[in-house]
Each structure stands twice: as structure tokens, then as C-alpha cells.
Symmetry: C3
Subunit: 268 residues, 3 copies
Amino acid sequence: MTQLAEKTADNLRKIRQLKPLVHNITNFVVMNFTANVLLASGASPVMAHADNEIEEMVDHAQSLVLNIGTLTDAWVTTMIKAGRRASELGKPIILDPVGAGATLLRTNAVKAILAQTWVSVIRGNASEILAIAGASTTAGGVDATNSVNEALEAAAILARERGTTLAITGASDLVTDGRRSFRIQGGHALMPYVTGTGCSASALIGAFHAVDKDPVSAAATALAFFAVAGETAGDRAAGPGSFMVHLVDALYNLSPEEVESRCRIEKI
Amino acid sequence: MTQLAEKTADNLRKIRQLKPLVHNITNFVVMNFTANVLLASGASPVMAHADNEIEEMVDHAQSLVLNIGTLTDAWVTTMIKAGRRASELGKPIILDPVGAGATLLRTNAVKAILAQTWVSVIRGNASEILAIAGASTTAGGVDATNSVNEALEAAAILARERGTTLAITGASDLVTDGRRSFRIQGGHALMPYVTGTGCSASALIGAFHAVDKDPVSAAATALAFFAVAGETAGDRAAGPGSFMVHLVDALYNLSPEEVESRCRIEKI
Amino acid sequence: MTQLAEKTADNLRKIRQLKPLVHNITNFVVMNFTANVLLASGASPVMAHADNEIEEMVDHAQSLVLNIGTLTDAWVTTMIKAGRRASELGKPIILDPVGAGATLLRTNAVKAILAQTWVSVIRGNASEILAIAGASTTAGGVDATNSVNEALEAAAILARERGTTLAITGASDLVTDGRRSFRIQGGHALMPYVTGTGCSASALIGAFHAVDKDPVSAAATALAFFAVAGETAGDRAAGPGSFMVHLVDALYNLSPEEVESRCRIEKI
């Protein structure tokens, strides 16, 4: 998709120029890495979760990323409050349903967020996406070994039902709104050995969606950029420790032109 | 101990094959590094602390690591709930008593966890172990400069009283259940300059204990593997920043064979 | 300022010899990096925030760093409790007003902390300092693009009113108590692309203030040391990921003599 490759480069240029503020209510494990991924890419991260400042912070931000990695009831309440505000203001919301299906709390948190806010993009692994689909469409089972391809059909149904774009990441990534579907190739085998790569991908979708109103294009181009950076990092890394370092460096150094020539997005 | 060197390699092989899920209720400072240490070593980390999902998460996990580094009353309550569930299910619990002796809250938290759950291994520095021993056996004083050797006697008494294995880490490490005692050599002088190396060692004991039912062997082999990785990282590092990177890379790259030939565990 | 260059080296020597305990109540995003910056520099970090241990922890510490980056009402209450204890004991308090001006919660938290504790040094960027000044002196507006120079006058007025030292960091840094003012040069253009560099600077002021009773000298020498380390890291880094690694290595490796010869502090 030459068109989406160009769009990837355009979105990256806009992020570096406009430095959109991406508001993250995310888990404790990945806060630092996520902030550094956003900064290196050119965006401005803010992490804030206090119930009595959350709406003001959403007002400042250009997009909102909700990640339930280390959730509690209080945080879910705050996420919904933030999400309702963002929905009212028409600011894009990205939901990362970490561990959906693993516990009732997580599955119910996802349901509540989806019911009460207007989520533009859901980014998860195949198991998480199947868990969400199962909760609302009785599709598929939940298994950490589910492949991206297995989750595509459930994702497309869920996308159409909800009017939401689904991004399923794995060895390759899929993005679908139930009508348009794209596959993104790239990345590196070390990525699953670094905590927070998925969460960072969700945050990057937040940055791309801040400058690109089309959720399918925003998600696909963000994942394409991340995949190119992952390839670069993988070429240079000696293990997951140095992979993290090279990934952040690559996100900072990659030119829009290089990303455009190297990214691999195909319509499926 | 050729036997424990072989066991170190065997346990590492099992971790990389079985990818045991290690559930960590740990402090905010080290969550990211701990997750990356576990992933690099081959295990699957999960960090979760919500009271209303904690038992479900314990059900999924193969071991439970409780670390009181940034505790609050609410977290201690949740740790105990998680620990009781793990005890019922016979899943190994590793306790990292960060700062025990420094405040009453910490000392009391350790007492409460030990009284209400079946802790298999306690991993701490000499001062922390002496503080715990003092709390229950009136042994020794508490001083951040206590050496590993000073703590051994108190640890052995505590181990026999509690039926728990004690792992005391420092320039060299000691593991004892009050009957069998082992010393592990290795590591590097930069380790104390990186936050979370002790906490990560506790998490690694969680991974090794998930595949090795013997707490003494699990603790000794985990620390031996970590010590070899620390040596490798120390050889390559230019300071504590690069040490962290090389440590994670080493945990990922070290073959069981190399670990077996290099690890140094002696019976004492 | 040869005098302050010498003082920078002296303070660094004292930190490495005395290893002062710096108690941080700080935000989740930067806890790990802050602890590693303090350790690499020679200080001993502790992160603790439980209301029922906070005074005991302050008793152990040589300085207290309050950072409102991911605040909640409960944390602010605990920060004030810790700050009151430190004030009673005459231990230096450093306040990092992250995001002051961005939300009412943050601005009010800063006001409450300043009203109820004896803050020795406030370290922020120009926008944060102007926001604080505006809250109490009706000076300036709040804008993330405010330059350090713009904030100097407001900072000097605020410093005299409050009897507090202000440290404003940016492309160059300014330190003033309203009578003496210093500019610190150095650092690197990659610093704003790494999360937590400002927060770490505040923590380092805590370490320097633990060994240097003069708040102006403590803040200026801490920032001068950090600026030299930033230059070293910038020379070696290929991007923000490797910058973090080299920064921590530089903080560990820089000798007091090299810091003295390279640091640039001028009276203004």
C-alpha cells in the first residue's frame, strides 16, 4: 500500500512538528518505557491518573490511551471518567486491554470502558482480542497462544458491531474496522522478550491518531513505523536489553523517508 | 557442587521450555526491570495487585513473588490474600522483605505475611534477614553494613524455626534451610549500583522454584545463574547504565551449558 | 565561578564517601531512573510513600525530595506529613512541581506543600516556576514554551518572598535565592527526549543538599554535575535510548577533578 506508506511518513512528520500531547492512564510496569517511546518518536507524553485532575488533563491532550495492565476498580472509574470527557470532546481513545480474559476484573473493565466511552481503536494480542470478542459476541476461546490470523474474523465482527477499529499485534499485525483490513509486517523476534512493547505500540497509535483522524490509517501507520523501528533495533541488538535501547534510538532517528521506503502494509 | 551446577542448567532449560508464569506483587521502582529480567531468562512475568483479581491471577501462576519495597497497608492485605491462595494450592511463595527493620510497617508486614502464608523462600540482604530474625528470634541487630556471613547463623535458626529457606545476597550469596547451606560466588561490584538487582534475584528464584520443587536447590541455582550473568555483564559494562543492558542480554543469551560450567555453588 | 566548581567537586566527593540517604516521594514514571541516577552518583535512594511509615523513613534520610508527577490527594497528604517531619528535623526538602499550572490539583498541591513545610529548593522548568509564581505573586502566564530567562525575574521575587531557592532548568539552568543568581551551562539537546531528566536533577539536588547546607550552592553544583554528565552522554549517544545508558555511566565514572575542570557555573 503505497498510499499508507506515504501516510506513515506524513503522520510521523506531523508528530515531530506538532508534538501532540498523548495522555496515558497506563500500568506501572511500562510507564517509563512508554513515555520514552513517545518522546523519542516526537510526541509529548503525560501520565496522570488522579480522579480530580483527569478531566483537565484530557482537555489539554490530543488523544487518550487507556491501558488496564495494573488496574484497580478506582483506576477503571477514572479511566471511564477520562474516556467520557474525551468522547464528549471528540478526542481519540485507544484501549489496550492487557490481560483481558485472564481475570473477571479485566474482562469487566474492558466491557465497562467500551460501554461508557467511545473507543476509537482497541490494540491487543490475539488472546486479548478473542477474549473481548467472546465477551460480546460469544466468539472463540481464550489462549495465550492464539495467532493473529485466528483473531481476525472475531475482530472484524467486533469492529463492525462496535464501530471500533481493532489492531491485533503479534509476529505480524492486523488492523481492521470490519470493512478495511490491513496486515503490517516487520518487527523482530526479540520484541516479545521486552516488557511493554505492546503497550508502547498502543501509545504510539495514540500519537498517530492525534494527527490522523482515520482510526484504521492511524493504527496501521503507527504499527508500521514501530515495526520498522523494531527491525532496525533487532539488527543491532545483542539481546532484549540492548534491543530496548536501540528501539528507542531508532524511533528517534528514523527519517519519514526511510520509514516510507521500508514499511510494509498490505491490504487483505 | 557438580550436582547443583547440573541442576542450574536443568532448571534454566525447563524455564525456557515451560515459560512458567511468575506472579509478582512488587514495588513500583523495579517492576519494569523485574519483568524484563524474567522475560530475558525465559519466564513469563505478570504484575497484578488488585484485591479483586488477585486470587484468579494466583490460580494462573506457577509461583508468587511478594516484595514489600513500596508497600502500603492495602497492598500487604492483598499480598496476604494472594499468599493464602498460593499456600492452599501448594504454589511456591518467595518473599523479598525490602527494608525490613527500617520501619515498623515493613517489619510488621513481614511478620504478618510469614504468619498467614506458607513462604517457601525469603531472599534479602544481610540486614533485612537479621531484622526478620530479630523480630522472631531476638537474634542480632540491624545494620545496613551487616555482612552475609554475619547473617548466616541467624538465618539458619530462622530457617529451622519457620521451615523456610533463607537466601542472603551480597558480595557472595548464601542459601540455607537450616540443615543444608550453600555459598554462591560470582556477580559483579556494579550490581549494588543498579536498583532492583536484589528484587530481580527474588523474582528469578520465583521462576526457578516454579520448575524445581526443592526450595534450597531452586534458590541456589537461581542465584548461581544470576551471578554468572552478572559476571558477563560486568565484563562488558562501562558503568551501571550499561551493566543493566548487558545483564538483561546475558540472561537471554547464556546457554545452560555455559552456565553449568561457570556457576560456582559450594556446600558449606 | 572557580569557587563553585571546586564546591561541585567537593560535594561529589562527599556524596561518594557518605552515601547520603535521599528519600523520594516521586512519580511512578521516573522512580526507576531516579533511583539509578542517585545510585550511580554515589547516593542511596529510598522510595517510600506509605502514610504510616513516612515519618520513620524521613528520620533515616538526609534529605527529602517531593515530586508531584503522578500525584493524588492521598499522596499530597503524605508528602506534607513527610515534609513537616523533615522541616522539624531541619532536613532539606526539594520540591519538583511537575505540571504545576496544568491542573488545579497540581497548582494547589504545590501551594499546600509550600504553606505547610519548609521547602529549601524548588526545581522546575520555566513554565512550572512561572505557574507557581503566578499563584502567589500574580506574575507571568503559563506556557510550556517559556524560556528560562523569562522565568528568572518571577523566580527571584518568589525566592525572596518564600525564603526558598529556585532552580529553573532548560537549555541552560538558573539558580537563585533572590539575592545570588547563577547560570549553569552544559547538558545536551537529547535530554528533553528522555523522561525523568528533570526529576532526576531534582533528586540529585537532594543528594547534594544532604552534604551541602547552602541551598544555592547545593542546587547549582548538582545541576553543574548533571550538565557535565549530560555532555559526556550526549557525545556518546546515538539517540535518547543510548543517552540514558551513557548518562548513568557518566554519573558513575566522572571524577570530581574532571567535573571541576569542565563544569560551567557563572554568577549573573
